[in-house]
C-alpha cells in the first residue's frame, strides 16, 4: 500500500514537470475559459518550517482538491519560507506566500495558476475569481434550449468584449455576474450565435438554431453547397468524428457499412466500392467518381488522409450525381477536407497496428504431407499423367521439374535407389511439414506504425492547414515493408473582401520493398518440402528442372543450378516507389452580393517506378545463364554463353498526369418568400496515362552501376538446341492514353416559403471518342427534383410525434463513357515480329455502329424524418436505377470476323430500398448511447444483352446474362458416381453424361448446367453502436451481407504434370483418398484414363455452391478522452487514447464449412473474381491523439 502511494506521488511529479513546461503555452492560448460557478473555499492547516513554496503546494494538493500550475523557476525566486496556517482558506495562504513577490495567482475551478502578476493581469477579471464583485454587477440566470425546445448543455456564454464566460450545465442552465450594459454571447458549434443585451433582466433565456453550415444539414456536391431541406437528391453523409472514430490509414476501410447502398469489399487499401449495384459491364469504369474539395481526382480514395477529412457525402441518385455528368453513373463520393480554426491549433495522432501471422491453413489449404504423397503415389502407380508429362535426366527440353515424391518414385522404378532407401526417404517426407519452415523463415507479424501531425490556423484574411503523415508497414512476408509520407497544405487568402485565393497541395511518397516471398511462392512449395535442412543450411528445393539432371551436369554449366526460395529472396530486391502530387488552386470573386465567379485549376501527377533486381547469384539469373548456351553434349562442354553472368535489372515506370480547368458562376438570392440558387459551369479536363517498361539490363552491378550488353539478341539457343526469337526483355513495352472531357453545366434550385423546392440540372459532356462527325461526341445529362418540407405545414406540426418530415423526389440521367470502341474499326500497333522482320498490327474492334454514352436513368423517392420521442431520425430511399446503352459484348456470326463485338445495347436494372436510422439516447449527462442502422436491398437484373451462345467456361464464373442478376453463376449438376465409378452429371433434358464423356453437344451450355445464383449480395446491413461513458467511448461496427452465393474451393483431382508440385492439392483430398467425400466424386479407379477432365468438372459442381450470407463484427474501438479539467493543466485541448480491433471475425455465416465467404482461397483457379486472396486476420491498434 505504501509503495503504491509513492508510485503515485512520482507519477504526479512527472505530470507536474510536464505541466510546468506547458504553462506558458496555456497562458498564451487561453482565450475562452470555462469557469464553474462552483467555488467552495476549502480551509487548510499547514505548519512547515524552512520549506519551499513548492513543497507547500504539494501539501495543499495532498489535502485539498486543488491542483497548482506554475513554473518552477518562478517559485525558486522565493526561496525558503515558514508556513504557519490554521484553518485558513487557500486564498489566504496563497496571499501570504506570494505577498512579497511579483507573482500572483488565479483560481480556475479546482486549478490554481501561479504566474507573474503581469501575465495574470492580462487575463480578464481576476476579481470574479476572487469573488470581489463590483456593486453594479448582478447575477443573471437563464435556460438555453435548442430548436426542439430541449435543454442544451455545454453552450458557451460570454460577456461581449471580455474573456469572461460560463458554460451551461446539464439542464441547459447557466448563471453569470454581469452589469446591465453587458451583452451576452451564446455560442455552440454548428448553431447560430445569439447575442442578448442584459438590461434590467435577471433572467435571459435563449433558443439556439442550427447554423446553415451544420454538417448534417448541407449537401456538398462538389459544385455547390445547398441546404439539405432544399435538396432533392439521395445523399449519405459521414462526419469527421465518425471517420476518425475508426483509426485507419486508408479511407475506404472506414466507410465499410457506414452508408446505405454502398458495398465495400476487399482490404488493405485495395478496396473496391459499388454504389447501388454494378451499373456497367466494362471493367475499369465501374468505380465511383471521387471528388476532393470540388475537383474530380484520378487517384480514387488513395491519396487521402482520413484524419484530414471534414465530411464525406455520397451522391447516389441522378439529382445529386448528374451534375457530374458522364462520370457519375457509378455514384460520386464527395470529400471535403478540414478547414482551419481560429488561432493556431496542433493535432497529433499516432497509432500502431499489429496483427497475427497469416494463417497458412486458411491461405493455402493444402493436403498434409502424408495425403499429398498418397495421391502422388496413386497417380504414379497408375500412370495417370498429363499426355506430355515426362521425367528426363537427359539434356533435352524435357528435363522439367518433378516433385520430391515423384522423383523418389521414379528413382525407385529405375532401380537407382533400393526399396529400403526409398522407404526411409519416403517416410522422411511424410514427417516433414512445410508450414514450420514457412512460419519461421518467410512470415512474420505485420506491424503498421502511423504518425500524423496537423497544424492549422486562421486569421482575419488567411486560413491554413498543414498536415503530414508518416506510415510504416511491415508486411506479412519478410522482409517486405512499405513507407509512406503524405503531406497536405491548404491556404485560403482573402485578397480583398470580395476576392479569395485558394491554394492546396498534396504530395505523397511511398516506397515498397517486395523482395520477400509471395503467396504464389508459398503455393508452389509441396507440403513435405523444407526451406532449410536440420543443420540450418539451405535445402535443395524443386526449381525449374529435374534434380537428377541438375546433379548430372553439376560443374559443367557456368552456374550452380540448385534452387532455394530463401536464397532467392536474399538475392533479389524488388522495390516500388510512388510519387504523387496534387495541386488545386482557385480564385473566387464576389461580383455582386448574390453573384460569385470562381475559376479553378487542378494538376495531378501520380508516378510509379518499379525496379526488380536479381543478383548474379539468384536462381532467376543462374537458370537463364545456364539455359541459354551452346552446349556440346558429348564432350560436356559449354561452347558459347549468350547471357552475361552478372545480375539483371528490370525497371518499369507508370504515370498519370491530369489537369482540370473550370469556370463557375454562382448565383444565390433570397427575396421575401423566394430563394434561388443557380450556377453555370464550364470545365475541361485531360488525363494522360503512360507506362513504360525498360529493356532488361544485363550484367548489372548495383554498386558500380556497370552493365554488359549481351553479344547476341537474336536468335539465341538453349542448351538443348531450342531457338528463341529474341533474348528475353530486350523489347520495351509502352502505352499511352489520354482521356479528355469538355463539359458545360447549369443547375438551379428554387424554394418557395421555405417549404417547396424544385431543383434541376443540365449538363453536356463531350469526350475525345473517335468519331467522324464531332456531334456524336456530345451527350446531354439532366435531372429534375422536388423537395417538400412537410414538417413546416401546420397539419404536420400538430402531430406531436414528428419533428421533421421531408419528402423528396428526383429523376435524371447520369453517364459513363467507354473510349475503346468507335464507329470505325480500331487497331493496335504491335511492333516488329522478329521471324518475319515485319511491323504488324491487329484489329481490336470492327466498329460499333450503336456507339453512344452509357446512360443511367435513376428515379428516387426519399423520406427524411425525425421523431420527437424517442429521438429517432432516419431516411428511407426507394430507387430504380436503369442503365441503358450499356456497352456489352454481343454475339455476332463469326463470318463477321469476330464472335463478340461491343455494342451499346445492353441494359441493367438495379432496384432497391435503403433505410437509415439514427438514434441517440443520453442516459445521463455522461452516459450516452447512439446507434446507426443501415439496411440496403438491391436487386439487379440484366434486362438486355444480345447473347445466345453461352459457353460453360464463361457461365460457371460470374458473368452477365440477360434475365439474370449481375454476376450470375452456373454449375454442373452432380448426380453421384455410377457403377463404373465414374461421376455422372445431368445432361440436356433427362439425359446424363459422365466425366469421361464429352460435354453434351450444344452451343448453349445453359441447356444442361444449373443456375446457382449470383455473387453480388442483394441485402446489406450496417449497424454501428457507440457508447460513451464519462470519457470512455466504445464503438462497434457490424456488417451483414445476404442473398448471394460463393463457390467453395475443393479438391480438383490434379494429375501428374511437369511442375514443381503436383499442383496444389486441396486438403479435401483426404476425404477422396479415404472414400469419405460427400458432394464431390470419390477416388477414381486405378484404370481411369481421363482423370485430367475430372478436375475441370469437380470444381464447378452444384454441390460446391454455398450460401455466402454472413454477419461479421468488423471493428471494435475503445477510446478514452481525458476530461478537459485534467487537460487544462497540460495545456492540451484534447487528449484521446484509443485502441481498435479490426476484422474481429464472423459472427454468423450461412455456410457450415467454417469458410469466410469474403476471403475464399481456391487451390487453383479462383472462380469468384475480385475477391482478395488473403483473409483479413484481426488487427490490433493502439493509439493516442491530442490537440493543443
Amino acid at each position: 500500500m505504501e509503495k503504491k502511494l509513492t508510485l503515485s506521488a512520482n507519477l504526479k511529479k512527472t505530470i507536474k514537470l510536464l505541466v510546468a513546461m506547458k504553462i506558458i503555452c496555456l497562458f498564451c492560448t487561453l482565450q475562452v475559459f470555462a469557469v464553474s460557478t462552483y467555488s467552495q473555499s476549502q480551509k487548510i492547516t499547514i505548519h512547515m518550517e524552512n520549506t519551499t513554496v513548492e513543497d507547500i503546494f504539494n501539501r495543499i494538493e495532498d489535502e485539498t482538491d486543488y491542483f497548482f500550475f506554475y513554473r518552477s523557476i518562478d517559485l525558486d525566486k522565493i526561496g525558503e519560507v515558514n508556513a504557519d496556517f490554521t484553518e485558513k482558506p487557500v486564498s489566504e495562504v496563497l496571499d501570504a506566500l506570494l505577498k512579497d513577490t511579483d507573482l500572483s495567482y488565479k483560481v480556475v475551478d479546482k486549478y490554481i495558476a501561479i504566474a507573474s502578476s503581469d501575465k495574470l493581469r492580462r487575463e480578464p477579471d481576476m476579481s470574479f475569481f476572487t469573488r470581489e464583485s463590483s456593486n453594479q454587477e448582478k447575477l443573471v440566470r437563464g435556460l438555453i434550449r435548442d430548436e426542439e425546445n430541449k435543454p442544451m448543455p455545454g453552450v458557451t456564454v460570454m460577456v461581449k468584449g471580455t474573456y469572461r464566460g460560463v458554460v451551461s450545465d446539464v439542464d441547459g442552465r447557466y448563471e453569470i455576474s454581469v452589469t446591465p450594459q453587458d451583452v451576452l454571447i451564446f455560442s455552440f458549434l454548428g448553431y447560430n450565435t445569439v447575442e442578448e443585451l442584459v438590461g434590467e433582466r435577471t433572467s435571459v433565456d435563449v433558443r439556439m438554431e442550427f447554423g446553415v453550415e451544420r454538417l448534417e444539414d448541407v449537401i456538398v456536391t462538389g459544385y455547390q453547397t445547398i441546404s439539405r431541406e432544399r435538396a432533392a437528391g439521395a445523399v449519405s453523409i459521414l462526419s469527421a468524428e465518425e471517420i476518425q472514430r475508426r483509426p485507419s490509414t486508408d479511407v475506404a476501410s472506414a466507410l465499410d457499412g457506414m452508408f446505405t447502398g454502398m458495398r465495400v469489399y476487399g482490404s488493405g487499401g485495395s478496396e473496391a466500392l459499388t454504389i447501388r449495384g454494378l451499373g456497367t459491364m466494362t471493367m475499369g469504369i465501374a468505380d465511383p467518381l471521387v471528388v476532393v474539395d470540388g475537383f474530380a481526382v484520378e487517384d480514387g480514395l488513395r491519396s487521402i488522409n482520413p484524419n484530414d477529412i471534414q465530411s464525406i457525402h455520397v451522391l447516389k441518385d441522378a439529382s445529386a450525381a448528374s451534375i457530374w455528368g458522364a462520370r457519375s453513373s457509378n455514384g460520386v463520393i464527395v470529400i471535403t477536407t478540414k478547414r482551419a480554426e481560429k488561432g493556431m491549433n496542433v493535432r497529433v495522432n499516432s497509432f500502431v497496428s499489429l496483427s497475427e501471422k497469416m494463417d497458412l491453413d486458411y491461405v493455402n489449404p493444402i493436403a498434409s504431407s502424408t495425403d499429398a504423397l498418397r495421391w502422388e503415389k496413386f497417380l504414379w502407380d497408375n500412370d495417370i499423367t498429363f499426355p506430355s508429362f515426362s521425367i528426363s535426366s537427359n539434356v533435352d527440353g524435357n528435363n522439367n521439374p518433378a516433385s520430391l515424391g515423384i522423383t523418389l518414385l521414379n528413382l525407385l522404378d529405375l532401380g537407382r535407389i533400393t526399396q529400403t532407401e526409398f522407404n526411409q526417404k519416403w517416410s522422411e517426407l511424410e514427417q516433414t511439414d512445410y508450414r514450420k519452415n514457412v512460419y519461421d523463415y518467410l512470415l512474420r507479424n505485420p506491424i503498421t506504425q502511423n504518425y500524423d501531425v496537423s497544424v492549422n490556423g486562421a486569421s482575419e484574411n488567411n486560413q491554413y492547414v498543414f498536415n503530414i503523415r508518416y506510415t510504416k508497414d511491415k508486411e506479412d512476408f519478410k522482409p517486405n515493408n512499405s513507407q509512406d509520407i503524405l503531406t497536405n497544405f491548404r491556404n485560403i487568402y482573402s485578397i480583398t473582401p470580395w476576392m479569395d485565393f485558394n491554394f492546396s497541395i498534396m504530395s505523397r511518397f511511398t516506397k515498397n520493398d517486395n523482395s520477400g516471398a509471395s503467396l504464389s511462392d508459398i503455393k508452389s512449395i509441396s507440403p513435405y518440402e523444407r526451406l532449410v535442412n536440420d543443420d540450418g543450411s539451405y535445402a535443395k528445393m524443386v526449381g525449374a528442372h529435374y534434380q537428377e539432371f541438375i546433379d548430372s551436369v553439376a560443374g559443367v554449366f557456368p552456374k550452380d543450378w540448385n534452387y532455394n526460395l530463401l536464397q532467392e529472396i536474399e538475392n533479389r530486391e524488388f522495390v516500388s516507389e510512388q510519387n504523387n502530387l496534387r495541386l488545386q488552386t482557385s480564385l473566387t470573386i464576389k461580383i455582386f452580393k448574390s453573384l460569385t465567379y470562381e475559376t479553378k485549376f487542378q494538376w495531378e501527377q501520380y508516378k510509379t517506378e518499379n525496379s526488380r533486381y536479381y543478383s548474379g547469384e539468384s536462381y532467376y539469373v543462374r537458370d537463364q545463364v545456364n539455359k541459354w548456351v551452346d552446349y556440346d553434349e558429348p564432350n560436356r562442354e559449354i561452347l558459347k554463353l549468350y547471357l552475361p553472368l552478372g545480375g539483371q535489372l528490370n525497371r518499369s515506370y507508370g504515370s498519370v498526369k491530369a489537369y482540370n480547368f473550370g469556370n463557375h458562376l454562382k448565383y444565390n438570392q433570397t427575396f421575401d418568400n423566394h430563394q434561388v440558387t443557380a450556377g453555370l459551369f464550364t470545365e475541361i479536363s485531360s488525363r494522360v496515362g503512360e507506362s513504360y517498361s525498360a529493356p532488361t539490363v544485363y550484367g548489372y552491378d548495383p554498386d558500380l552501376l556497370t552493365s554488359v550488353v549481351p553479344e547476341v539478341y537474336y536468335p539465341i539457343h538453349s542448351y538443348w538446341g531450342a531457338t528463341n526469337y529474341t533474348l528475353g526483355g530486350m523489347q520495351s513495352s509502352m502505352s499511352y492514353t489520354d482521356k479528355r472531357f469538355f463539359s458545360v453545366l447549369g443547375n438551379g434550385a428554387y424554394t418557395w416559403l421555405g417549404k417547396y423546392s424544385a431543383t434541376g440540372s443540365f449538363r453536356i459532356d463531350a469526350s475525345n471518342i473517335i468519331v467522324k462527325d464531332p456531334k456524336y461526341r456530345y451527350a446531354p445529362f439532366w435531372s429534375v427534383g422536388a423537395n417538400w418540407r412537410a414538417d413546416r405545414e401546420s397539419f404536420i406540426q400538430d402531430i406531436d410525434l414528428i419533428s421533421r418530415l421531408n419528402i423528396r423526389f428526383s429523376y435524371g440521367h447520369t453517364g459513363n463513357v467507354v473510349l475503346s470502341t468507335s464507329f470505325v474499326p480500331l487497331i493496335t500497333m504491335m511492333g516488329v515480329y522478329p521471324p518475319t522482320g515485319g511491323e504488324y498490327a491487329l484489329i481490336d474492334d470492327y466498329g460499333n455502329p450503336t456507339l453512344t454514352w452509357e446512360r443511367t436513368k435513376t428515379t428516387n423517392l426519399g423520406f427524411d424524418f425525425a421523431l420527437k420521442n424517442p429521438a429517432i431520425s432516419g431516411t428511407i430511399e426507394l430507387y430504380n436505377k436503369h442503365g441503358i446503352d450499356i456497352v456489352g459484348a454481343i454475339d455476332l456470326p463469326r463470318l463477321t470476323g469476330t464472335s463478340l463485338q461491343e455494342f451499346n445495347t445492353a441494359e441493367i436494372l438495379n432496384r432497391g430500398i435503403e433505410l437509415n436510422l439514427l438514434y441517440g439516447l443520453p442516459i445521463t449527462s455522461n452516459i450516452k448511447w447512439s446507434t446507426r442502422f443501415n439496411f440496403t436491398f438491391n436487386k439487379s437484373k440484366v434486362l438486355s444483352l444480345q447473347r445466345i451462345s453461352y459457353d460453360y467456361n464463361g457461365i460457371r464464373s460470374p458473368h452477365f446474362e440477360e434475365g439474370k442478376p449481375v454476376d450470375a453463376v452456373y454449375s454442373y449438376r452432380y448426380l453421384g458416381m455410377n457403377s463404373e465409378n465414374v461421376p455422372v452429371l445431368q445432361g440436356i433434358g433427362d439425359e446424363t453424361w459422365t466425366f469421361n464423356q464429352v460435354a453434351p453437344p450444344t452451343s448453349d451450355d445453359r441447356e444442361y448446367m444449373v443456375y446457382s445464383g449470383s455473387t453480388q449480395p442483394t441485402t446489406l446491413l450496417g449497424w454501428q453502436n457507440v457508447f460513451s461513458l464519462y470519457g470512455f467511448e466504445i464503438s462497434a461496427y457490424l456488417t451483414g451481407e445476404f442473398g448471394f452465393i460463393f463457390r467453395m474451393p475443393t479438391f480438383d483431382y490434379p494429375i501428374l504434370t511437369n511442375t514443381k508440385t503436383t499442383a496444389a492439392l486441396h486438403k479435401d483430398v483426404v476425404d477422396v483418398l479415404n472414400n469419405t467425400a460427400t458432394g464431390i466424386p470419390t477416388m477414381p479407379s486405378e484404370t481411369e484414363t481421363n482423370v485430367s477432365a475430372w478436375g475441370a468438372y469437380a470444381q464447378y459442381l452444384h454441390t460446391t455452391i454455398e450460401d455466402a450470407s454472413n454477419i461479421r463484427l468488423r471493428e471494435v474501438n475503445l477510446s478514452y478522452n481525458l476530461p478537459t479539467v485534467i487537460l487544462a493543466k497540460t495545456g492540451l485541448s484534447n487528449l484521446r487514447v484509443y485502441s481498435q480491433i479490426r476484422n474481429v471475425g464472423l459472427l454468423w455465416a450461412a455456410n457450415k464449412s467454417g469458410i469466410d465467404p469474403l476471403y475464399i482461397l481456391n487451390s487453383r483457379s479462383s472462380s469468384t473474381a475480385a475477391i482478395p486472396q488473403i483473409r483479413a486476420v484481426p488487427v490490433y491498434t493502439f493509439g493516442v491523439s491530442f490537440e493543443f
Binding site: F389, T682, V824, Y840, I843, G897, P1001
Partner: protein, 489 residues
C-alpha cells in the same frame, strides 16, 4: 475592376467553347485502339502473322491420310474424344465447332477492312493499289479455302448447290445468305483476276505478302480444283518461270533433328523453326495443327520408300505417342514443330500441278521431269534414282503417281481438297476415292469398344461439304442455311 473581370469571364468562356473541338480531336490512345489513318497501318494489318499466315486450321482429321487405330484409341480414349466427330464425319457435332470457319473469315475481315478504309487513308496511289490487290488476293485465297471445306466438290452437277456467304464489307447487316457454288467460284475467280493485276515480284523477305508468282501459284491450285487443267498448267508454269528453287530436305532438316524423351521413351523429330524465308515458298502459310497429333494412316505410311525417302525419315515421327498420350508405339506427322506444316503454295506443289496436267494431256516426259525435280530433293543423298517414262504404262498411271506424290508431299494439307476434286473430276481419269475406317461403334461423342464398325465416305457423299457452324446459322436471322445431309446411321 469588376467590369474587367466580367469581360475576362466572358472571354474565357468563348475561347473555351471555340477551342473545344480541337481539344477533343486528340485520340484517346497511342498504340492501342487507333483509328486507321495511313496506308502503312493497313500494310501492318496484312503483316499480322498470327492472323494471316499462322492460324489456318484446315482439315487434318477427315481424310484418308489420317489414321484411327483401335489400340491407340483404347490406350487413351480421352486423347481422341474431341476429334472423333471429324474422323468419323458426324456432321451434327462438327457443326458445333467454329474454329475452321472463324479463322478463315477473320482473314477475310482483315481484307474487308483494307477495302473499306483504303479510300480514306493517307498514302501513295501505288501503295494503295498494292494493298487493294493484296486484299483481293486474300479474299480469293480464303473463300477458296472455305469452299474446299464447307461446299460440295465443284462440278456441273453441284453448281447450284449451296456456296458461301460472300461477306465483302464490314457492315454487320450485310446480306449473308449463301450464294450458289457457281456464284461462289465465280466470285473467287473475279477476286483472283483482280489480284493477278499485281506486278509485285516475289520477295524472299516478304513471302507472306502478295506477289505475282504467289497469285499465279494460287491460281494453279484453284484451277486444278475446278478441273481446268489447261489454266492450272499455264499458271503453274508461269509461277515456275518466276521461281523454281527446290530445297534439299536432308541438307536442310538434318541439323534440326533432335531426340526427345517423354513418357518413358524417346522419339526423334526435326526442331526447325517455322521459316518464313523457306526457299520453296511462293506464299507463306502455315497450317496450325491444333491437335498437335496428325496420326498417319497405314495407307500413307505404305506410300513412302521408308528406307530412303527423307520425308519419312524426318516428318513421320515414330513413337510420338510417348509425348501426346504416354502410349508407346504410334507415329505422328510433323514438319516445323508439332504444330506447323507448310501450307501455302510452294515450288514443289507447282512442279506437281504441272506434272499432273502434263500427264493428263499425255506429256509423260514433261511429267516425269517435273516429278524427278521434286523427288530428287526429297530422297536421302545418293539414294534417288530418276523415274523414267517407261515406269508409267498409261497417262492414268502417271496421274495416279502424281496424286500419290502429292499425298507424300502434302499429306495433311492438300489431301482433303484432292479427294474432292478427284471424286468430282469429269475427266474421270483416276480412280474415285472412298475413305474407309475400321473402328468401334461410336456416335462421335461416346464410343462402345465392344462393337466393331466400318465407316465409309463414298464419292458423292453429302458429308464432303462440312457443316457450317450452327451458332452462325442461329445468329444469322434465318439468312444462313445448313448443308443438307442424309440421315446418319
Amino acid at each position: 475592376m469588376k467590369r474587367i473581370l466580367i469581360h475576362i469571364v466572358t472571354l474565357v468562356t468563348v475561347v473555351l467553347l471555340a477551342g473545344c473541338e480541337k481539344f477533343l480531336d486528340v485520340p484517346p490512345e497511342k498504340k492501342n485502339n487507333l483509328e486507321i489513318k495511313t496506308a502503312e497501318a493497313l500494310d501492318m494489318l496484312l503483316n499480322n502473322y498470327n492472323v494471316i499466315f499462322d492460324r489456318s486450321r484446315e482439315v487434318v482429321l477427315a481424310h484418308d491420310n489420317y489414321g484411327i487405330y483401335k489400340d491407340y484409341y483404347l490406350a487413351r480414349p480421352s486423347r481422341f474424344d474431341g476429334q472423333l466427330k471429324y474422323i468419323l464425319w458426324y456432321t451434327d457435332h462438327c457443326a458445333l465447332q467454329t474454329y475452321y470457319w472463324e479463322n478463315e473469315f477473320l482473314k477475310i475481315a482483315y481484307a474487308n477492312t483494307i477495302l473499306a478504309t483504303i479510300n480514306d487513308v493517307e498514302g501513295t496511289a501505288q501503295a494503295k493499289k498494292v494493298l487493294i490487290q493484296d486484299a483481293h488476293f486474300l479474299r480469293a485465297y480464303e473463300f477458296f479455302t472455305l469452299a474446299t471445306l464447307y461446299c460440295l466438290p465443284y462440278s456441273d452437277e453441284t453448281k447450284s448447290a449451296l456456296g458461301l456467304p460472300l461477306k465483302k464489307t464490314l457492315v454487320y447487316d450485310e446480306d449473308i445468305t449463301r450464294k450458289s457454288l457457281e456464284e461462289t467460284m465465280n466470285f473467287i475467280e473475279e477476286e483472283l483476276n483482280l489480284a493477278l493485276e499485281t506486278t509485285q515480284p516475289r520477295d524472299i523477305n516478304r513471302l507472306w505478302r502478295i506477289s505475282l508468282p504467289a497469285v499465279q501459284a494460287f491460281a494453279a491450285r484453284f484451277y486444278l480444283y475446278i478441273h481446268d487443267y489447261q489454266k492450272a498448267e499455264y499458271f503453274a508454269n508461269e509461277a515456275l518461270q518466276a521461281h523454281s528453287s527446290l530445297v534439299d530436305y536432308e541438307t536442310y532438316f538434318t541439323p534440326f533433328m533432335r531426340t526427345y524423351s517423354s513418357g518413358g521413351g524417346t522419339y526423334v523429330a526435326p526442331n526447325a523453326p517455322t521459316n518464313y524465308k523457306f526457299d520453296e515458298i511462293y506464299f507463306a502459310r502455315v497450317l496450325y495443327n491444333h491437335t498437335q497429333n496428325a496420326v498417319p494412316s497405314e495407307d500413307l505410311l505404305n506410300l513412302y520408300d521408308q528406307a530412303n525417302d527423307y520425308r519419312y525419315e524426318a516428318f513421320i515421327v515414330e513413337n510420338y505417342s510417348y509425348n501426346r498420350a504416354s502410349v508407346p508405339g504410334w507415329p505422328a506427322y510433323w514438319q516445323f514443330g508439332s504444330i506447323g506444316i507448310l501450307h501455302g503454295p510452294t515450288t514443289a506443289e507447282m512442279f506437281l500441278v504441272r506434272a499432273e496436267c502434263k500427264a493428263r494431256r499425255g506429256d509423260l516426259t514433261g511429267a516425269v521431269a517435273d516429278l524427278n525435280a521434286v523427288r530428287s530433293h526429297r530422297y536421302k543423298n545418293g539414294t534417288y534414282t530418276d523415274l523414267s517414262t517407261s515406269d508409267f504404262t498409261s497417262n492414268k498411271a502417271a496421274v495416279q503417281f502424281v496424286i500419290d506424290e502429292r499425298r507424300r508431299e502434302f499429306p495433311f494439307t492438300l489431301r482433303w481438297a484432292d479427294i474432292k476434286r478427284i471424286n468430282s473430276d469429269p475427266a474421270n481419269l483416276v480412280d474415285k476415292i472412298t475413305i474407309k475406317r475400321e473402328f468401334f461403334e461410336s456416335d462421335g461423342l461416346s464410343t462402345d469398344p465392344s462393337i466393331n464398325k466400318t465407316y465409309t465416305l463414298p464419292p458423292g457423299d453429302k458429308r464432303y461439304a462440312w457443316p457450317i457452324p450452327s451458332i452462325d446459322i442461329q445468329l444469322s436471322n434465318g439468312q444462313l442455311k445448313q448443308n443438307p445431309y442424309d440421315e446418319q446411321p
